[in-house]
């Protein structure tokens, strides 16, 4: 409690009193929590609701499911209702079937006697329950694991290639003197001006001609080298003293060995930042996969999600569960690494 109090009284006003601007600030921040986290929380809660619960309007805050009971002589569990009027008022009955405005009910304690009641006089007995079947059915009904694997494969492979290729280039541009270095730097800046979005058509031709249409490699390779990565790593590698490289050369290390035994380990912080960014970019990538991957067995999670929201208009149970599973890996990355991500973004200044 003391902590909460400290928190609330961390003020600009002197004498421990809250200045009105502090109230406004904290108000804004808590509104921020509500607006930023609220929708995601609502998504997660909703994903645990049953089909019936989802269709309820107005919706309940938490996922509820109707209680059921097994009654001798019936194979399926029967839904329970509590009577709010009529002759059985106060009793809890199980419903057999509903006919128009009438329902056939039985008392679970006395299953042989069938009772007819007006549906206006009953209310379902509900309890909190997580509809985990929304998730399990994903694996049964869809090729979910395939999509997950496609996304993972693209993300991991593309990130690995990008880290290697970009760090090699950054090494050359930061630690060697050679004719044409400034020209190459200019080229890198040039690619900064060519986002994928403006060369979609010719890129499509090239990727098709290389036989990578409808192949995961067609998504991985074209974006495998990024100007941002080169700049980020070069900026960091420049700070490594040249004498360390000279020392390694005197130690009979080849240039390649210097690269992966000295430069790469020493650039680990920058490489980690780039890795996180790359994972984020690739996992969330949408437009290019949308163009290159047209067969559903090649779909990434993002594509699958997008195409199902078209096909399954009303099947929100599957859609919500799939959305949660898609954001889960990124949420985990966020939870553990958000500090690095923040520094990374701040240091690249965007892109």
């Amino acid at each position: 409690m003391a902590k909460v109090w400290d928190f609330l009284t961390a003020t600009r006003g002197k004498n421990g009193k809250l200045h009105w601007t502090d109230w406004v600030s904290y108000g804004y921040l808590f509104l921020g929590i509500f607006l930023m986290f609220g929708p995601v929380v609502w998504l997660v809660i909703s994903s645990f609701k049953t089909e019936a619960d989802l269709q309820r309007f107005p919706p309940t805050l938490l996922p509820y499911a109707q209680e059921t009971v097994m009654v001798d002589g019936y194979d399926a569990p029967l839904p329970l209702f509590v009577m709010t009027g009529g002759e059985y008022e106060g009793q809890t009955l199980a419903q057999l079937r509903r006919v128009g405005s009438q329902a056939q009910m039985i008392d679970p304690a006395n299953p042989d006697e069938r009772l007819r009641v007006d549906i206006a006089n009953r209310e379902p007995v509900e309890k909190l329950s997580l509809a985990t079947e929304n998730y399990t059915s994903l694996f049964e009904r869809f090729n979910f694991l395939q999509f997950f694997w496609n996304s993972t494969f693209i993300t991991v492979t593309a990130t690995a290639i990008m880290l290697l290729v970009n760090s090699m280039a950054a090494f050359a541009l930061s630690k060697y003197e050679f004719r044409g270095r400034n020209f190459v730097l200019l080229l890198v800046i040039g690619t900064l001006m060519i986002p994928q979005t403006v060369v979609l058509v010719p890129l499509f031709l090239i990727v098709t001609q290389l036989g990578m249409f409808n192949s995961l490699w067609g998504v991985i390779i074209p974006g495998a080298a990024t100007p941002t990565g080169v700049f980020l790593l070069r900026q960091y590698m420049i700070t490594i003293p040249d004498e360390i490289l000279d020392a390694a050369r005197m130690d009979k290390a080849s240039e390649w060995k210097i690269f992966w035994r000295i430069i790469v380990p020493l650039s680990a912080p920058a490489i980690a930042v780039l890795a996180i960014l790359a994972i984020m970019w690739r996992w969330n990538d949408f437009l290019w996969p949308l163009i290159i991957l047209t067969q559903s067995e090649n779909f990434t999670l993002q594509l699958a999600l997008n195409s199902f929201q078209g096909e399954l208009q009303t099947d929100w149970t599957s859609l919500l569960a799939m959305t949660v599973l898609t954001l889960l890996p990124i949420a985990c990355v966020f939870a553990f690494l958000q500090r690095y991500i923040a520094t990374g973004i701040a240091s690249t200044g965007g892109k």
């Binding site: 003293p241 004498e243 360390i244 000279d246 020392a247 390694a248 050369r249 005197m250 130690d251 009979k252 290390a253 080849s254 060995k257 035994r261 000295i262 380990p265 020493l266 680990a268």
Partner: protein, 354 residues
């Protein structure tokens, strides 16, 4: 055997001529120091020997073999850098092993050699640490150890003590000297500090503007400097210089005073412009010599320094043993030990010694 021979070595960056033809002959087992003011090219010369910097002209031989085009790694040299250049992400042991691993030395042998060297340099307690957890002196030892463990033909040192504090520097000086005696290898050592050069070297090469001004043993350089630059650079405090003209077998100064010249050992022509070099300890307050006014006195107990200016505002330094009674503002006459002076041609700055 590891003789290092430089023949007319040159280096230029584009139009800039940095090393202008250096000849040096460093014998096996010698401790050779390159000394000179900053920008004289001494570090460049060392890096050219190491192979880190390509040679623009001339021949570099190690053991009679021209190595101009041999890669740094294959010259069989080891280098200790000014910033130590330890691999920050490796432990001390890994730092020492890295070079041996690159030579494909068997693991057991590496361990044994590293342990041996670590013990010798008293860093065996530190093998598991990383460079950031070491003090300056310890890093220095590791850097030296990294060179020693390779058993190179020649050791190269690039101002290795300049990042240490004064006290530690004295200790390390002694330690590197001991190391040299123990290993007996050829060592080439670059410094801008002539005290380091004097105390450690077998041979000193004084460099200026990409040229060797003089190459010889410390005492040769001290006792018989070849020109005014070397005379002024070697020895602390600096040598005093008095310019004049030879008239009637004596040196006539601009102040009108005349100084006696040594009778033997120098090539003196009547009427020549000559600069007389006098070390501070060859100058004593006396009755007969150069007149000067005292501007500063430092009494250190066992010895004293007197700073004075001549009548034409030339600064002189006097080193006198014991505790002087001279005070600031005194007018004194400084007697010169004629047998202990150096004479140079004022025009060419070359020594007039025969």
């Amino acid at each position: 055997m590891a003789d290092v021979t430089l023949t007319n070595i040159e280096k230029s960056y584009g139009a800039a001529h940095v090393i202008k033809g250096v000849d040096l002959d460093i014998k096996h087992g010698e401790f050779c120091v390159f000394v000179g003011p900053s920008g004289c090219g001494k570090s460049t010369l060392l890096r050219m020997i190491s192979g880190l910097e390509p040679i623009s002209g001339g021949d570099l031989k190690i053991d009679e073999e021209v190595v101009n085009d041999v890669a740094a790694a294959d010259r069989g040299l080891a280098m200790v850098f000014q910033s130590y250049a330890l691999y920050p992400h490796m432990t001390v042991r890994q730092n020492l092993s890295f070079g041996l691993e690159n030579l494909n030395t068997p693991k057991a042998e590496i361990t044994q050699k590293v342990d041996e060297v670590a013990k010798m340099l008293q860093i065996d307690q530190l093998l598991a640490r990383r460079p950031k957890d070491l003090s300056g002196g310890q890093r220095q030892r590791v850097a030296i150890g990294r060179a020693v463990v390779r058993e190179p033909r020649v050791f190269l040192f690039d101002e290795p003590l300049s990042n240490l504090d004064a006290e530690l520097r004295v200790d390390m000086r002694g330690e590197i000297s001991r190391l040299h005696r123990r290993l007996g290898n050829t060592m080439i050592y670059v410094t801008h500090d002539q005290v380091e050069a004097m105390t450690m070297a077998d041979k000193i090469a004084v460099l200026r503007d990409g040229l060797v001004e003089q190459y010889g043993t410390p005492l040769e350089l001290y006792n018989t400097p070849g020109n005014i630059f070397v005379a002024g650079f070697i020895g602390s405090p600096k040598m005093n210089f008095l310019k004049g003209k030879v008239q009637g077998g004596a040196l006539a100064l601009a102040t009108g005073e005349t100084l006696a010249l040594p009778t033997v050992g120098f090539n003196i022509t009547e009427g020549a412009e000559v600069t007389m070099g006098v070390r501070p300890n060859a100058l004593q307050p006396g009755s007969n010599g150069v007149h000067a006014r005292v501007t500063g006195v430092e009494i250190l107990g066992g010895e004293s320094y007197i700073y004075a200016t001549t009548d034409n505002d030339l600064a002189l330094t006097v080193h006198s043993p014991g505790q002087t009674s001279v005070e600031i503002g005194n007018d004194i006459t400084l007697a010169i030990d004629t047998n202990d002076v150096h004479l140079f041609d004022t025009g060419t700055t070359k020594s007039l010694r025969t």
